[in-house]
Amino acid sequence: MDPDVLRITDLTRRYGPVVANDDLSFHVRAGEVVGLLGHNGAGKTTVVSQIVGLLRPHAGDIRVGGTDAVRDPAAARRHVALQPQAQAPIDGLTPRSAIEIAGGLRGLTPRDARAAAVSLAEELDIGPWMDRRALPEGGGLSGGIRRLTGFAMAVAAPIPLLILDEPTNDIDASRRRLLWDAVRRRGDAGSGVLLVTHNVSEAERIVDELVILDRGRLVAEGSPAHLRGTQDTDLRLELQLPPEGADPSATDPHLAVRRRVRTGRRTLLTVAAQEAAPAVAWAAAQHAEHRIEGFSLTPSTLEDAYLALTTPPDPTREGATDD
């Protein structure tokens, strides 16, 4: 059996002159959580819209659970559950009835749908809200509870491909953790999960693979460890620059850095562990001379790599592809 629940090949979609998806290819296997990362406007939601048949690709193939999603979108939709970026339309419903209906639409018997609602209420810690009605204009239920209900609706029944578009928006920190764990469990239970997010640091904990888009193009893919690109022992030296100040690290030949990314008034340097002591000494000297406002040394994260891949070209930058 084909292990891929989603296979996208050479996908291209334009809006007028703007190429929203430029020749994308990637896949999601059963049991795998794949993070689709990118800035706003990178083309993430456009990919999703084509998978569920809201948009037609201009070129390329999309196969969902063995069906051709471009030729037969209706068949493909049966293999996909989507939690979109917009809130699920549940006005007039309670979370319980919304989850039961969503389960029923995916073939759960009424008894199974009721059981699914009960167990999801527990899993996401939304029990007290389960029988409260959502009212128009955002009344009745908070945005966070609505978002969690939308997630519960998407996962009410087991599904080959689960697509979650920014599922943690509006959700408080403790339930966000419950949600990430719930996502990971769906993957472990055999669903392929495509997780669309710009929350790099949180997604890193649960994804198996990452696909990074930048302005419509795939700029990198691989496991978080692979994409971090440097050794696990590498460290991140973050410099806080003065307003409109030059980055002293860009011109200093004695500073050994693996990667440098500048975002606004921050410069993120990736340094090898054995270079950490001289780097800190260098930064302290810069700070003493008021060329930087502050600095910190932390373990290197995926966010550093992500920023290196997606930060617009900058003459002072090194270490990332910008072709």
Binding site: P3, L54, P89, A189, R258
Partner: protein, 268 residues
Amino acid sequence: MTEPTAAPRTPTAPHPPSITPVQVSPWRSLGMLLRWSLASIGAMLPLIVVVQAMLAAGIVIGFGLLIPDITAEAALFLSSGAPTILLLTIGLVIVPQGVARARASGALDYQRALPVARPLLLAVDLVVWTLIALPGVAIGLLVGHLRYDLAFSFDWPLLILASLLVTTMATSVGYAIAVSFPAMLAQLLSQVLVFFVLLFSPITFPASQLPDWFQRVHEVLPIQPAADLLRAGIAADTFTASGRDLLVLTLWTALGLLVTLRALVRRR
């Protein structure tokens, strides 16, 4: 310097259990969607009944004030036209506004991404809006009866057929407007349609009062046929409808359904 690039993936170790989607019958999907739609629109139902009652009072009593010494015939004409106006208002104004809202909020796309045949979405809305609109017929007639003490001579089969057909026509045309035009334009168009239906359509007055060319226009629009057909069902002793009315209404209904279905199924 390390360069993060694409690399071959490591295969996932044990094979996870495979999940096969369940094929759900259209009837079951329809039932689920109906439950969903009734809950969301149902909250508006009391409001809509109040609006219908006020509109009916406005038409039957308000328009009556424009005609001093109103005759029994004129009163019957006015009152038997009120249900048509109410049904057309729901279908051509409230439906497009609701659909335009659903488009803007992403609710329509949410539904279109569900594992159901998209024509079912339209079927559900037709059923729900018919349920919501139909009390309008009774409300309109009740107001007429209370104001002018009119006795109606119902042709029940015709009244039921006409009510269903007019509601379906208005809802499908309203839906078509909402999915064919940008939200702002659809809202504007639906506002303009209220005035057209209320003031420039031979519903509450005979078509003979319109200029010749305008009568020709109304022969092909669905408004006058809707009014004539309903009137014949409400006061069968006084008014009759023609097969042509039925044909024009059916054609408009088909057009509305076709445009809507195309928009629901089509990928942009």
